[in-house]
Amino acid sequence: MKILVPVKRVVDYNVKIRIKSDQSGVEDSNVKMSLNPFDEIAIEEAVRLKEAGKASEIIVVTIGPEKAQDILRTAMAMGADRGVLVSTDLKIDLGGIEPLMVAKCLKALIENEKPDMVIMGKQAIDDDSNQTGQMLSALLGWPQATFASNIEIDNGQANVTREVDGGLETLKVALPAVVTTDLRLNEPRYASLPNIMKAKKKPLDNKQLSDFNIKLTPRLKLVSVEEPPKREGGEIVSNVDELLDKLKNEAKVI
């Protein structure tokens, strides 16, 4: 079984972002960039399936700038076999490449690579769209299982437990299918130094987004990016009685 894992390069989740003073976007120079956390979970899951003998090959794909090679190398150090970089100069967080374009590009790659399964993040932590996996699955006409917290592969099918608002839902999907990951699916490993060295020699294919037959004009024009309304920290109360008094008589919420 061949697994394809689309991954995105995003501002590291620990970084407090800065908004450009002209409100045109988010500062990205000299900012730590990382693999989107949900995509790390997707790679980990694919690697575990390979270790369990269920998968034979793992391909990681990213659409982004030349520099996004670094996350493909990280993915390969975690255990992916090869990488594909689809290069573009367009912005990938806001006001450039959009989920629908990403899904169309991935569809074209998938028709070529013919994986049996796509595992990807449920959400990129920059645009917070939570769309690409569902869109890809619709374009391919494949089943989808989003927000997965458990995946079991059995006989050409995947049993997937999904984290939904009401609790946990279980689906059985026929492969090939698109599965998107939630936080509790697994805990991604750290790449060891020898594996980081080995990953440098793994194959990395370079393609150009402009060579795909996809219209590259965004449907959503980014008008501005602003600070959210500031919330002023209030006061520190000294004990429970004071807290209760404030809640009763000042905030009037109890």
Partner: protein, 312 residues
């Protein structure tokens, strides 16, 4: 301008977030129809017909839609869209809407707008990005607009006074979608539902165990509050996954939010910082949660919590 709201329901009753979406839909000043798609969901259609501001209730009841899986539901919406040509399609930004709407968008070749918090004009919208650290304004030049709506950003439409007609449409997609529903494990609770609750008491990693988390439950019950949690508390198994508040969990905006033993990571704040009054209890006076709390109490939760519950 014709607007379609896709209702979230469990084949018996509407989920309250649907009402917030209807208020968002009313910003487009056009006819609003609501789709109730499911299995044996006629009661829900009846319930929806009295909501203020609804034109038509479209009821599509079919065994293939009963589990409300994204694949058949998306086809159902595409079928209806083919007949009615709506300009705007909306659903709540819940796991239901997030699962379904991008599928519909892709099939209609539209770039969806997720988690809309403000409708500035029929083609211009605000939404939070970067875990709520920024608010982006977008202008959509798609012919149709497809969007999920953040319920907490809009009031609820009134459930009375409406007299919508109910139109039954049959689902004509015979496809096998390759997806089968196996089961739903519902975390039963007598407490208010988290996303709609007026008061929420949330616990974090500091609670230390499932047993200790009962202290949060006792306080919540005294207040008639729903219970929430940080990711760390969920990961540690103190509470089920559907209690998680944050960027990747639920978004809440109650009148009162009490965060106990929660540090206030950006990802947690993303789900609760629009609450009206925020109380933080934490032993570390430097904890980031104090920067956004209206009332902070520095101290050991194992001393404070029992006292607070007792004095209420």
């Amino acid at each position: 301008m014709n607007v379609l709201v896709i209702a979230e329901h469990d084949n018996k009753a509407l989920k309250p977030a649907t009402l917030n979406v209807i208020t968002a839909a009313s910003r487009f000043s056009g006819n609003i129809d609501i789709l109730i798609a499911g299995g044996n969901c006629q009661d829900v259609a009846k319930e929806a017909s009295t909501i203020k501001g609804i034109n038509d209730v479209i009821c599509m009841s079919d065994a293939a839609l009963e589990a409300q899986l994204a694949e058949p539901l998306a086809e159902a919406v595409i079928q209806i869209q083919g007949d009615k040509n709506y300009n705007v399609i909306l659903a709540p930004a819940s796991t239901f809407g997030k699962n379904l709407l991008p599928r519909i968008s892709a099939l209609l070749d539209v770039q969806q707008i997720s988690d809309v918090i403000e409708i500035i004009s029929p083609s211009s919208f605000k939404r939070p990005v970067y875990g709520g650290q920024a608010i982006a304004t977008f202008e959509s030049n798609d012919e149709f607009k497809v969007m999920t709506v953040r319920a907490t950003a809009f009031d609820k439409a009134s459930t009375e006074g409406g007299q919508a007609t109910i139109e039954e449409i049959s689902f004509n997609s015979p496809k096998n979608f390759g997806t089968a529903f196996v089961g739903l494990e519902v975390a039963k609770t007598e407490r208010p539902e988290l996303t709609g609750a007026e008061k929420v008491v949330s616990g974090g990693r500091a609670l230390g165990s499932k047993e200790n988390f009962k202290m949060i439950e006792e306080l919540a019950d005294k207040l008639g509050a729903a219970i929430g949690a940080s990711r760390a508390a969920v990961d540690a198994g103190y509470v089920p996954n559907d209690y998680q508040v944050g960027q990747t969990g639920k978004v809440v905006a109650p009148e009162l939010y009490i965060a106990i033993g929660i540090s206030g990571a950006i990802q947690h704040l993303a789900g609760m910082k629009d609450s009206k009054t925020i109380v933080a209890i934490n032993k570390d006076e430097e904890a980031p949660i104090f920067k956004i709390a209206d009332y902070g109490l520095v101290g050991d939760l194992f001393e404070i919590l029992p006292e607070l519950t007792k004095k209420l």
